[in-house]
């Protein structure tokens, strides 16, 4: 456990930033609604941000180790399940279960 005060401060900082992002835009609502740039960004941002976060999660994959196969197979399981059933919970749990099994048993360090 890192220093307790630091761990609490980290949560408070994250909470303050998150709340600010959620609450402050309402104060600027009218100009936001009128802006064509904001409209343009708001429809396209979410997909792009999710793609970036997905790449970020996979940023430390090594292309030379066989252990990399665990997340890649789990990713394929997640995508396959999601394209098949469109059930977010099933896809997440299925992909995670595949990864836990592969990383703990098959490609255990």
């Amino acid at each position: 456990m890192p220093d307790t005060r630091y761990a609490i401060a980290a949560v408070l900082v994250a909470a303050a930033v998150t709340w600010g992002l959620r609450a402050l835009p309402f104060a600027a609502l009218t100009p936001l609604r009128a802006s064509s740039i904001v409209q343009y960004l708001s429809t396209r941002m979410p997909a792009g941000v999710m793609v970036i976060l997905l790449v970020y999660c996979l940023r430390d994959l090594s292309l030379t180790q066989t252990r990399t196969l665990a997340p890649l197979i789990a990713l394929a399981v997640t995508v396959g399940l999601h394209l098949w059933r469109r059930n977010a919970l099933l896809s997440i749990l299925g992909g995670t279960a595949a990864h836990v099994i592969l990383a703990s048993a098959v490609f255990a360090p």
Binding site: M1, A14, T18, L41, Y56, T96
Partner: protein, 253 residues
């Protein structure tokens, strides 16, 4: 359970008849909100359990899971926060990452029905607990008639599912055997699903995810230490450039 008004009315003046109260706003709105929240709850609870388990597996105390789930209520960033806290990242880096990951909430102000929520306290809580799922549920077609109370109840239920399951996961997480690893993939899987759904919502606008992918890979190669910040900046710049070059042409719509 309900006594039908016809039966009650057949007796002339039942003694201290409960005045015809306006249909008890509190409980019925809570019940309706509970029903609406159930689908999202099915997703929150396993993810919250996974989040809590990951917290204790990462060496943090169980109460930290509850603190984070209650105050920094925003699933995806909380998973990232575990890694940053165990790596003792500077608070400024945490603030910056929270900003980049959660900046999408800025756009929620465009359509979240905050005007229906009454009272300063209610509005404060509604913005505080404005997670992705609350936004998605309260802006859908079926939610157009929801009063503010139902919106608040819905947000409270979602908040509770997340906080309670996070604490439960943290307490149960210490029971997970030592050799079991890889639970952190829940975060990757979650972003995979969110990305697939968001890309589908773009209805064939493939340049947008392609620009995001290129931005992320370029940031990974060129700025590995500040990958998220660089990727978001590149992507935003690319979108703006695209907007201004397309602006000259007549729009499709």
């Amino acid at each position: 359970m309900n006594i039908s008004p016809a039966v009650a009315g057949s007796r002339s003046r039942p003694a201290p008849a409960p005045a015809p109260v306006p249909p008890a706003a509190g409980p019925s709105e809570a019940r309706a909100a509970f029903k609406e929240s159930a689908g999202a709850g099915l997703g929150f609870i396993p993810l919250g359990l996974a989040f809590g388990a990951l917290v204790t597996q990462s060496g943090l105390d169980w109460w930290w899971a509850g603190l984070s789930a209650t105050l920094a209520f925003g699933g995806s960033f909380e998973f990232l926060l575990i890694g940053m806290v165990t790596a003792a990242a500077p608070l400024a880096a945490i603030a910056l990452s929270a900003f980049m990951v959660n900046v999408r909430h800025v756009f929620y102000a465009l359509s979240f029905p905050l005007h229906r929520v009454t009272g300063r306290l209610g509005k404060t809580y509604a913005t505080f607990a404005l997670c992705d799922e609350a936004y998605a549920l309260t802006t859908g077609k079926q939610a157009r008639s929801w009063p503010g109370r139902r919106i608040l109840w819905l947000q409270l239920f979602l908040h509770l599912y997340w906080a309670v399951s996070a604490v439960a996961g943290a307490l149960l997480g210490s029971l997970i055997p030592e050799g079991v690893t890889g639970l952190d993939f829940a975060l990757t899987a979650m972003f995979t699903v969110l990305a697939l759904d968001a890309v589908r919502d773009l209805r064939g606008d493939l340049p947008t995810p392609a620009l995001a992918l290129v931005s992320a890979l370029a940031a990974r190669l060129l700025f590995p230490g500040q990958m998220l910040l660089a990727a978001f900046a590149l992507f935003t710049a690319a979108l703006l450039a695209r907007h201004f070059t397309n602006g000259r042409k007549p729009t499709r719509a």
